[in-house]
């Protein structure tokens, strides 16, 4: 399965990765080789097989809904590149119309 340059660019946009031209070329080849290898999964009949997403057997692990103070919330927010009044500060997400 050969990935086109357009496909590589599209995946990079979805993944929020900016790739240099030589990276695009290299990843194009390498990803194609890896996808070729995993193609063999397609030959297995799994029509009746349930998928396994995790192996713990645990379902809906619940606990009391109570506040436990970590004691470090101030420090965590202050680690951010920008913060203000105990909040993370990021560039605006919505444009004014």
């Amino acid at each position: 399965m050969k990935l086109s340059q357009e496909q590589i660019e599209h995946i990079a946009v979805l993944a929020r990765l900016e790739l240099a031209p030589e990276e695009k070329e290299k990843y194009g080849e390498q990803l194609s080789a890896i996808l070729d290898y995993v193609e063999k999964l397609g030959n297995v009949d799994t029509a009746e097989i349930e998928p396994t997403s995790q192996v713990t057997g645990l379902i809906n692990v619940m606990r009391e809904d109570e506040v436990i103070d970590s004691g470090i919330s101030k420090e965590l927010v202050e680690d951010a590149p920008e913060s203000q009044l105990g909040y993370f500060k990021i560039p605006k997400i919505f444009e004014n119309k």
Partner: protein, 483 residues
């Protein structure tokens, strides 16, 4: 030199006041000082912190077996106020405000944390070459890799810089470097040890475990790490065994399976001989060796390299330059910060996996890749369930080769992935696996892999320990003056 001691020997010496933890810690630091230029096992050495913890440990009354014992911790574990990079430039200056549960538990016992060991970036790799900082060198041949991703943790123990270390194993990252460096390493059953505070790679597969100079030492360490943690909801409330007692039982009558799919074309002859000789030895010791089949083994690695990148692409989304870690604020808009921070902060292998995972999970491909891989995971898991109806333990090679040269596989990611062919099936099944030194091939150490049922660490530790009572492979040490 006290740093040459095993954990149990060091514990006895401390208890009998033959030496202090400060003396033991100083010897470890001295060893780091003299060999680190060659081996490059550590990203951070915390000399002051270690000596102060050692002083505290020397004052403890009724010290536990871990009190005052120097340990090296893989850098994917968060350590309070001690830089924790995950081997990534993205977290080059990150100082966590909390300890991972595993680290906290060791600290409660009075452990001495020497520093943080090198690893492939966020544990993605099998050679430690994907570290964002520098590669680690195999102490048996400095031109070769120590394995990975817990390569620094393995090299530090193999060179007696640390008495034991902590690593993580998602698809072989404890077992393979333990094999390449000639030490013992345990991948626990998924959920046996809390993952809280350990940087996530593949959340449905990541496990935490010790690397040590003997299986007996691992049996001492494990109870202090294992058990339910409210901060990790994937840790079931299953009792923790008395491993140190269990390992003393003999192995007469125990059934050990040799799966034919693990003795494939293309594997190193020397490695094969080591595993078959180990089987012979175990038979002499009274175990029954049985030929078994795990028919979906050759599909496991393909499924693994869909599931892993898929979860990686999701887990790496947190490194966005907004809340912590490296942030490139040149381009002022949101997208610009994401793109620049991730482009400059993340390394090649991380980006490669994010790309594969993003593709596998993208619209139109989910059923063909991710869902298919999860179904094959069911088949791999069932193979083991069926096999364990017949045998108690499964014996296999850890890796198809001995340690390869630094740079040898770096431009061929698929070849690098195939190195994990014998370790990933157990990871998909969530069972436990132990790597035990069993000989040499090409003048390099070779480990055997002992696989056990979920939460049956006691049986593989027992086989490993009994094997070490009858062999000396785990006592062999690299001679760094000759290479």
């Amino acid at each position: 030199m006290l740093n040459n001691l095993t954990l149990l020997e060091a514990f006895v010496g401390l208890r009998e006041k033959k030496f202090s933890s400060v003396e033991l810690t100083k010897d470890c630091l001295k060893q780091i000082d003299s060999l680190e230029d060659k081996v490059k096992a550590f990203l951070i050495v915390d000399e002051d912190g270690a000596l102060s913890q050692a002083k505290d440990a020397d004052k403890m009354k009724n010290p536990s077996p871990l009190a005052g014992i120097p340990v090296a911790v893989k850098d994917v574990f968060c350590t309070k106020d001690l830089r924790s990079t995950g081997g990534s430039k993205v977290l080059e200056n990150y100082r966590p405000h909390f300890n991972a549960t595993a680290v906290e538990k060791l600290k409660e016992q009075g452990a001495v944390i020497l520093g943080k060991t090198n690893c492939d970036e966020f544990a993605m790799g099998g050679s430690t070459e994907n570290s964002g900082f520098f590669p680690t060198h195999n102490p048996w041949d400095l031109e070769r890799v120590p394995g990975g991703s817990s390569g620094g943790s393995a090299a530090a123990v193999a060179t007696d810089m640390a008495i034991y270390s902590l690593g993580t194993d998602t698809g072989g990252s404890i077992r393979q470097p333990a094999s390449f460096c000639g030490i013992s390493g345990l991948k626990v059953s998924y959920g046996r040890v809390s993952r809280y505070g350990v940087m996530a790679m593949t959340s449905s597969l990541d496990t935490i475990g010790p690397l040590a100079k003997s299986v007996e030492d691992i049996a001492v360490i494990l109870p202090f790490l294992a058990g339910k943690d409210v901060k990790d909801s994937t840790t079931p409330d299953i009792s923790v065994d008395d491993y140190s007692a269990e390992i003393n039982k003999g192995i007469k009558g125990l059934r050990i399976g040799l799966p034919k799919e693990y003795f494939i074309e293309g594997m190193d002859e020397g490695v094969r001989d080591v595993v078959l000789n180990a089987a012979k030895k175990l038979e002499e010791m009274g175990a029954e060796i049985a030929d078994i089949s795990l028919p979906h083994s050759d599909l496991a690695i393909a499924a693994y390299y869909i599931i892993v990148p898929s979860e990686v692409s999701s887990n790496m989304a947190r490194y966005d330059g907004m809340r912590y870690g490296f942030s490139d604020r040149e381009g002022r808009d949101l997208l610009g910060i994401y793109l620049n921070s991730r482009a400059k902060g993340l390394g090649k292998e991380v980006k490669r996996r994010v790309m594969i995972g993003t593709y596998a999970l993208s619209a139109g491909y989910y059923d063909a890749y991710y869902k298919k891989a999860m179904q094959v995971r069911t088949l791999v898991k069932k193979d083991f369930e069926d096999a364990f109806k017949d045998v108690d333990v499964i014996l296999t090679p850890v890796a198809p080769t001995t340690a390869f040269k630094i740079g040898e596989n770096i431009n061929d990611p698929l070849k690098m992935y195939l190195e994990d062919v014998f370790t990933t099936p157990a990871s998909l099944a969530g069972i436990c696996g132990l790597s035990v030194p069993a000989g040499f091939a090409n003048n390099l150490p070779v480990g055997i892999q002992l696989l056990g049922k979920r939460f049956d660490e006691k049986t593989i530790l027992r086989v490993g320990h009994q094997y070490q009572l009858n062999t000396d492979w785990h006592k062999k040490k690299p001679d760094l003056n000759n290479n």
